[in-house]
Amino acid sequence: MLDKFTDLMERILTPVADFMNGNKYVVAIQKAFSTYTPIVITGSFAFMLNLMLCSTKSGLAQFAGFEWLANYANIFSTVNYACISCMALWIAFLVAYSIGEQDGQKPLICGLISSVSFITVLDPENIAGSLDASALFLAFFVGIISMAIFNGLMRFERIKIKLPDSVPEMIANSFNALIPAFITIMVFGIFAGVLYATTGTFINSIIYTVIQIPFNQAIGTQIGVSIITVLSQLLWWMGIHGHMAMNAVAKPVRTAALAANIAAVASGALPPEFYTLAFVHLFMNLGGSGIVISLALSILAFSKRADYREVTKLSFVPLIFGISEPMVFGLPIMLNPTFFFPFVIAPLVTCNIGYYAITSGFLTSAYVESIAGAPMFLQQFLAFSGQWQALLMVVVVIAVAFAIYTPFVLVSNKQYEREQAEAAQLEA
């Protein structure tokens, strides 16, 4: 019965994970965002420093003697603009870079062609305002389509310009790509020009309204986030990195949400989107995907199994940094029927608690990117800009998950006693 269940899950879920981590374009988008992570963190921290120091409403500049700080707000707002408000341009570069790498092309020229094509299709009157997170999907499409055209053209030897062997390889390479690059970029130029001449609009606004908004609205909702949590946990229960597998879908949504929150706070409003990385680190993956730290605490408090206690002690410090692999594979939780239910349900409950904590206004949503691998409490303190409510929620999440895990730890004691008794009988 258990074998059948495991078998069924493997058959349904492994292809999902396979697609997410194996498809060329999905991999490229994922890689682009993970490469971009330090820049998102830089931009959001610059924004936070601006609020703390140079803002005349919330910062040090509101106090007498520090007014001069307001004149230096540009230090942080320019950094934030380059990192957050131009992110689609950099993502267009990185997506094509990764596709080019996977296709065996020179990745730099690929990234370059894609960024140039990306600028080509934007409204030339408003380039500066078109590079932000609202153009992320456009960046994916331009990266993918430009590489499809470019790679296709590079296959035709006849259109490569051949230089004599005496020409240095570097120069020969850039001439090789000349005609394919020219055609690729012109295709985007023609497309944008014709679209504008016939409809008077630009592609970025169309993609934003027709694809990106519906997609973000489907994922960044209570139901969407609940589904992502369950899928991620099911994968983890089978021993597959669920968070990573789901990132392909979830990361663009979270990054756009963070940018929207920053924009809202900059204009004096409350951050509107709840589903950011800070949310994940507080309500879904606190102390390891599945709030495993609560299982660890429950085992230390109640378990009679020496092996469980031993593994838990070894795994405890990594859990504080959000690393749950030692518990997942060592206890193991993986394919362990006893912990299947709480492992899936605990984070589902806590992510819904998080949803209500934020939408009720108790906790203000994050406008700072959370740092993966930072120790708990400090991680939430930074990501939620020092709100005490975030620290309280850390305790609440751990306590709720503890209550969900504990009955199953007690069951595992009973199972263990029964096994011991049976083993003793066999010996006798």
Partner: protein, 101 residues
């Protein structure tokens, strides 16, 4: 021998790496052992004699075998040894892979 481990972000494998180093040292073996993010495997080809994958990315095995393309043996680490950070067991797995190449 050069042993490279790969996982989702290189974080949890680095726990195993430190235990493997300890095991290798106590056995008097001078091995180079390190961990990378799975995305970096391609750029490391040629530097490792064996590639071990964290069990949480075992669904990527097929793709990474393609990436490595015969340059070195590739295998998924035994989940229990991985979870319990049993450095000696993982080290043995690596040695056997290289020996049976």
């Amino acid at each position: 021998m050069n042993i490279m481990l790969a996982c989702a972000a290189g974080m949890s494998t680095s726990l195993v790496v430190s235990k493997m180093r300890q095991a290798a040292e106590s056995q008097g073996k001078d091995y180079k052992i390190w961990a990378v993010d799975q995305g970096q495997v391609a750029s490391e080809i040629g530097n490792f004699d064996v590639l071990l994958l964290g069990p949480q990315i075992r669904h990527m095995e097929r793709k990474l075998v393609q990436t490595v393309n015969g340059a070195a043996p590739v295998a998924v680490i035994n989940p229990m040894a991985y979870g319990r950070c049993d450095g000696a067991a993982v080290l043995k797995q690596a040695e056997e892979l290289v020996a049976n190449k």
